[in-house]
């Protein structure tokens, strides 16, 4: 049944702001984003918030709910006591634009610096062949909805804004790993991942994995294997990932790439 929810919401811009207290009617089965929308429609028409799909698919509605990085559209009110005040603040690692909306351009900068996919030629019939087992690793990483909650959580940037220059963050380590494990890619980005993207700064705390709404095992499945590949120990990649991941078997066919210049 419906009840009155107490909400504290951060209101303000890049320069100043404060937590505002609100009481809003909510219904059974609602999520935090519903409460925010009702607030917007009835009490605070100019409350800034990002959202699109309202179904956990687009990664727009990231914020910190009672201090924890989460998607507002996937956080159910039923997870809280009715009497509890829910506090919603913008992602801390990024500059605030207004209210719950932050400037996430850091992530788009990092995306631009990543050398893209460079496939081998097509088969004679114009198609390409890859086995399901070979694409599954990459598919896990491509579930990423770019909510940037992992980026927000990672202490390397959360606590040290200066690190942003040299650190691509977990979302992009995922991308490096995805391409490195792609059966048809010809680039070798290991050195780049280590140097320019700052993979070495990650000390495997796994905080990023904990907040990922897609349940991607960022640390175990992407970062750690990537670090191991970088170290280039006497790992035979074939035995290491199971015989299926590297159909071509040798890294000799991959070419080492340099960071992309500003596009």
């Amino acid at each position: 049944m419906g009840y009155k929810l107490s909400l504290r919401i951060w209101r303000g811009d890049h320069f100043r702001g404060e937590l505002g207290d609100y009481v809003v009617d909510v219904e059974e089965g609602e999520v935090v984003l519903d409460a925010i929308h009702r607030l917007q429609a009835t009490q605070a028409g100019d409350l800034a918030v990002r959202w699109n799909c309202k179904a956990g698919k687009c990664g727009s509605c990231s914020a910190e709910i009672n201090g924890r990085p989460r998607l507002m559209c996937m956080t159910r009110l039923a997870d809280f006591e009715e009497s509890e005040t829910i506090t919603v603040t913008p992602m801390r690692a990024f500059p605030v634009i207004r209210d719950l909306v932050t400037d996430v351009s850091y992530n788009y900068e990092k995306a631009r610096q990543l050398p893209s996919f460079a496939p081998t030629p097509r088969d004679a019939d114009g198609k390409r062949r890859m086995m399901q087992v070979d694409v599954e690793r990459g598919q896990e990483f491509r579930k990423c909805i770019e909510c940037f909650l992992c980026q927000d959580t990672c202490h390397v940037v959360r606590d040290h804004d200066d690190n942003k220059k040299a650190f691509a963050g977990p979302r992009f380590f995922l991308r490096y790993a995805e391409l490195d494990m792609h059966p048809l890619d010809t680039n070798d980005r290991r050195k780049l991942a280590q140097d320019a993207a700052g993979l070495g700064m990650c000390n495997i705390t796994k905080c990023c994995t904990e907040v990922c709404p897609e349940g991607i095992k960022i640390t175990d499945n992407a970062i750690i294997p990537m670090k191991e590949r970088v170290v280039d120990r006497k790992y035979d990649p074939v035995t290491w990932l199971g015989s299926k991941i590297f159909t071509r078997g040798d890294r000799g066919s991959r070419e080492e790439v340099r960071p992309r210049e500003e596009a």
């Binding site: 609602e30 999520v31 009835t42 918030v49 634009i97 351009s105 788009y108 390409r128 399901q132 596009a263």
Partner: protein, 635 residues
């Protein structure tokens, strides 16, 4: 900002620097300010693409590849457009699973699904080019699910003769948008994110640019460009129960109309048969058709597979009439006919509507969609991971153990900008349209999976042709005048100065209520006439909108501007729906229940006449050549 503002701008965010890169998006910015100009940020491009969904991104890539300087402008962040939500797959007759599949079969399915009202040439190009467009995505890094021999796997969907949808689990749209986004970034195409276009400029008869505001700061931008591609998606936000997001306010439809282009097929709105119905907070959120494609069935409160009672004459010969045959079909398509649950969407949506009206619905006013009793939990989780997640998280339902409750939800608009099939140009020189905002391709009803392929095929065509046309404007490039810009700015700022006291959120809610009740799945002349009267009343109220706060990231203001588009588009839908006195595809009239050949020969075309009034005209359907006609005579 160095220039003097003609329009007062005291509230805009003072931190936004006007040189170098934009702090939000990293876009390159200029600070060109002409001495006597309008003082707003300006950019010059060959092609401006409005929209960063599948159609917009594909258009931008094509225009870039053709050598044009291209900008993409979008209301949300890059990668968040509606395309990201698409689940089931991309329809393309690649023949990877059934070698018998080819473009002719796909073409035939598409035309029949649209009840033959589709533009035949668009449907042909679409079926012919979709396979290469999908392979191209793979070229750019997409990782589709595979068949046993390593090819792109294809899944069953309603209305498609063969398993034809290239997919990645049930998150195909995410794969598609990420792939195209990464490609566009790699090519260095400029993207203006969280930037909304409010007007398209013309110099004489030809497009000359566009006017937009940054959502972040509320500041204005002027684009100079001889070609503009509309790729703005749909209109679903005008309905109460919808699978669409806030972005779907019909901006592109309205922009086209105001710029002098025409809209066709606007009476056809697709209600997807399976949206979530409970809890209220998620009402309308899509449950992908893949659930049925992968074996799920619909049952009423009595446990009956009611779709067997709703097989229309038109599809009798290709639809199974016993449960046994239907169940065999999943493994043997050659000797069995397709289950009635996989009839085109309009048929299934109407059937569900009738069942619930007859009191045989589920507790929350839907029907049951059951895959739990038919497929293993393991298979369900693997094939439908995001459905599993969605129901678990949002409705506390475990779809591997219990049935889902589902009901129709407004999903897609078949209607859109009338375009030339080969080039995607509208009747306005320089104005192109592709994707959901374009009309004609899907006729009266779209088959699942045919949108994502449509985006790729016609996005590319629009981009190429827009680039080509940008070099062919004659001696002088078309110009945007300062007066045009000042008027556009004044228009955009009006909600701050008008003091009528109307709340945009309230008017939006009232519109959604009207459209849902009076212009919904089942329509009548009386209700449609009533809706037109009420929309007129809302338009009047909307003239007195008042917006709180200032221009910086102000959703109330943004809605106030979008609302005008929603009202225009709603009027178009209601008007065309009232005119078409028959039932066909996504348009069902209770008072004209039959499909009528007279109406099957004509399109309804909407334009903006004098004094801003929407005008409606009949136009004969383009005639299909005989060699294509013969595809419908053979079985």
């Amino acid at each position: 900002m160095t220039g003097s503002h003609v329009v007062t701008d005291e509230n805009a965010n003072s931190q936004a620097p006007m040189a170098g890169r934009h702090p939000m998006t990293g876009n390159r910015m200029t600070d060109e300010v002409t001495a006597d100009g309008h003082g707003f940020e300006e950019h010059h491009y060959d092609v401006v693409v409005i929209g960063a969904g599948g159609a917009g991104l594909r258009a931008a890539i094509a225009a870039h590849d053709a050598g044009a300087r291209v900008a993409i402008v979008c209301k949300s962040l890059l990668g968040k457009a509606h395309t990201v939500m698409a689940e089931g797959g991309i329809a393309a007759a690649m023949g990877n699973v059934y070698a018998d599949d080819n473009w002719r079969v796909h073409y035939r399915d598409t035309m029949r699904g649209g009840k033959m009202l589709n533009n035949w040439r668009m449907a042909q190009l679409h079926a012919q080019e979709a396979p290469e467009r999908v392979l191209e995505l793979e070229e750019w890094g997409a990782l589709f699910d595979r068949t046993d021999d390593g090819l792109i796997s294809q899944r069953d969907f309603g209305g498609h003769r063969f398993a034809r949808l290239a997919h990645v689990g049930d998150r195909t749209g995410l794969e598609m948008i990420r792939t195209l986004q990464q490609r566009a970034v790699e090519l260095g195409i400029d993207v203006f994110m969280e930037c909304t276009v409010t007007q398209i400029f013309k110099d004489g008869e030809r497009v000359s640019g566009a006017f937009a505001y940054w959502r972040e700061s509320g500041r204005f931008i002027v684009f100079h460009s001889p070609s503009v591609v509309l790729a703005t998606g749909g209109i679903g936000k005008s309905y109460q129960v919808t699978s669409n997001s806030w972005e779907y306010t019909g901006d592109g439809h309205a922009l086209a109309l105001h710029t002098g282009a025409s809209l066709i097929n606007m009476e056809f709105v697709q209600f997807h048969p399976t949206g979530m119905v409970w809890p209220p907070s998620v009402k309308g959120i899509l449950v992908t058709e893949s659930v049925r494609g992968d074996g799920g069935v619909l049952r009423n409160a009595e446990g009956k597979r009611f779709m067997f009672d709703y097989i229309p004459e038109f599809f009798k010969s290709e639809t199974a009439d016993t449960e046994e045959e239907a169940d065999r079909w999943y493994d043997d398509k050659t000797n069995n006919r397709r289950p009635p649950e996989l009839l085109p969407r309009d048929e299934v949506a109407r059937a569900i509507n009738s069942e619930t009206k007859a009191g045989r619905g589920s507790p929350h006013g839907g029907v049951f969609l059951d895959i739990a009793s038919r497929r293993s939990a393991e298979l369900i989780r693997r094939r439908l991971p995001s459905m599993y997640h969605q129901f678990k998280e949002l409705a506390d339902v475990d779809i591997t153990a219990e049935p889902m409750e589902v009901g129709p939800t407004c999903h897609y608009v078949m209607g859109g900008v009338e375009v030339d099939p080969d080039t995607a140009v509208s009747i306005v020189p320089g104005l192109y349209a592709a994707g959901e905002v374009a009309g004609g391709m899907h006729g009266s009803n779209r088959l699942g999976g045919n949108s994502l392929s449509d985006l790729l095929v016609f996005g590319r065509r629009a981009g190429l042709n827009a680039a080509y046309s940008a070099t062919r404007f004659g001696v002088e490039p078309p110009r945007v005048s300062d007066t045009q810009v000042r008027e556009a700015a004044a228009h955009a700022l009006a909600p701050f100065s008008v003091g009528g006291g109307e709340n945009p959120y309230t008017i939006q809610r009232d519109l959604q209520d009207i459209m849902q009740r009076l212009v919904g799945i089942i329509r009548t002349a009386d209700e449609l006439s009533e809706s037109l009267g009420q929309i007129e009343e809302l338009k009047r109220r909307a003239e007195g909108l008042t917006v709180e706060g200032h221009r910086q990231y102000n959703p109330g203001w943004h809605l106030a501007l979008d609302l005008v588009n929603m009202l225009t588009v709603s009027e178009c839908i209601a008007k065309a729906a009232l005119e078409r006195q028959e039932s066909r595809g996504g348009h069902t009239r209770d008072d004209f229940a039959a499909t009528d050949d007279f109406w099957g020969q004509r399109n309804l075309v909407l334009t903006q006449g004098a004094a801003g009034r929407v005008e409606l005209n009949h136009q004969p359907l383009p005639v299909m050549p005989d060699e294509l006609k013969s595809l419908f005579e053979a079985k």
